[in-house]
Symmetry: C2
DNA sequence: ACTTAGAAAGGACATATGTCCCTTCTTTTT
DNA sequence: AAAAAGAAGGGACATATGTCCTTTCTAAGT
């Protein structure tokens, strides 16, 4: 991680994401723009949280690891995302690990102490946090119900649709979201089983696959398979 | 549902749960104490939310239903619980259905409109909401990871431990949390399978069961089975 | 182009879980 | 107490998913 001491750039990011009114001048004063390498961790599950991060550029993934080493990927995210919000509010240790999956991941960092001093009496800031966390809860809630109620083929169909709905410019950008190992860990199943279902989808004519590249052939069919559920990215 | 027009009682509940400082005088002005019958719905999934409820007495369950009729119970709750908080913040329709599972379930009701007028600039109220929602997110998050990563025997062991940790006065109070149909819908599996695992636990000497009453025989063994996870109620 | 290391895919089998329906137990009614 | 209705439990089989290991493909190095 390196700190980028460029106030201009920092403020341009804030404006780009309409955050200038969210963080008051006191808060902005101590904001730091950080850049992370691909593969670098922004924060690690189990450690104590000291910073709130506003993810403004690049791609990240959020995952959790169980005692016995199982990995569950909770989300692949692009901006705008907030990291550390829940921990800021409840004071608990970090729930998940966050890792940069593209180069030049940029985050605006705020120190918890400073936020407490100058943000906890600021309704705009608190409403912003509320909105973020409520939205996270909403997604988590629907995702959990969905995961618990439907088998892998439904979840995978839903996942494929959600990826195809992304507004990615280039073709290779899309591929980032389709590493089957990651997909398995996201859906909460084994790589083997994802493979099995992928093959089944191919045979049913829902998708096609060449050299690891998956193309949707029958969107309507996939939607039926997904029972109209789509993971919100 | 009937409204109880008894300011004394309402305020005694607020005090009991240390909420007097959370809701300012404006907000309290329009608070209404409501009582629900056993089996009555406090709110219904899919409808638009208009009220924030503070659950102060009795027992409730929260569940969601899928398009094809599957039921997933999200929690069995005793006070203190807040209903409608997420919907208040994000304006979406109700995510879940909430139902009274005991007689005389009491809730303090606040109108969204009134809250917006007199609460959204009140840091104490906003911090309270933040705390509640962050905590809900935390529980949901750990529950989802747990559910996705472990098989039913682990989840059931965890559930049994969590129920045994409840501070219920009477014996019959405990039974409320052990209807196996409900347990199955909570864990996200079939009644048949819960039964199977219960029997397995009996054979392994972890629990005993007589006429539908389950008694824990080997807490340490259950904890190992649960891999130290416990559902937070 | 050949070799080889590593990634991706798949076969075989074991386990976990769901569905359907029959049996057994409980409770209520007569 | 006998009978009947309903709840709870369980058998048998089908499906979903996990584990382990082999095979196939891909890409890098020579």
């Amino acid at each position: 991680m390196k700190e980028i001491k460029d106030e201009k750039e920092l403020h341009s990011y804030l404006e780009q994401h309409q955050l200038t009114n969210i963080f008051n001048d006191h808060l902005k004063e101590h904001a730091v723009l950080c850049e992370f390498e691909q593969g670098e961790r922004i924060c690690t599950q189990g450690e104590s949280a000291r910073f709130l991060y506003v993810h403004v550029s690049g791609k990240i993934k959020v995952y959790t690891t169980s005692q016995d080493g199982k990995i569950l990927i909770l989300s692949f995210k692009q901006p705008l995302e907030i990291i550390g919000d829940v921990e800021y509010v409840n004071g608990a240790e970090l729930l998940n690990t966050v890792e940069a999956t593209s180069t030049k991941v940029k985050m605006i960092r705020f120190d918890f102490e400073w936020l407490k001093k100058h943000g906890n009496d600021d309704a705009a800031f608190l409403l912003f946090l509320l909105d973020i966390i409520a939205h996270k809860f909403y997604r988590k809630s629907t995702a959990m119900s969905f995961n618990l109620m439907y088998p892998v083929e439904v979840r995978l169909a839903s996942y494929l649709l959600s990826v195809s709905a992304l507004k990615e410019h280039t073709f290779t950008d899309r591929l980032d979201w389709l590493d089957l190992k990651d997909v398995a860990n996201f859906i909460g199943t084994s790589y083997r089983h994802v493979n099995r279902i992928i093959k089944q989808f191919c045979m049913e004519g829902l998708i096609e696959k060449n050299k690891g590249v998956i193309v949707i052939k029958d969107r309507a069919g996939l939607q039926i398979m997904a029972k109209d559920n789509i993971y919100e990215q």
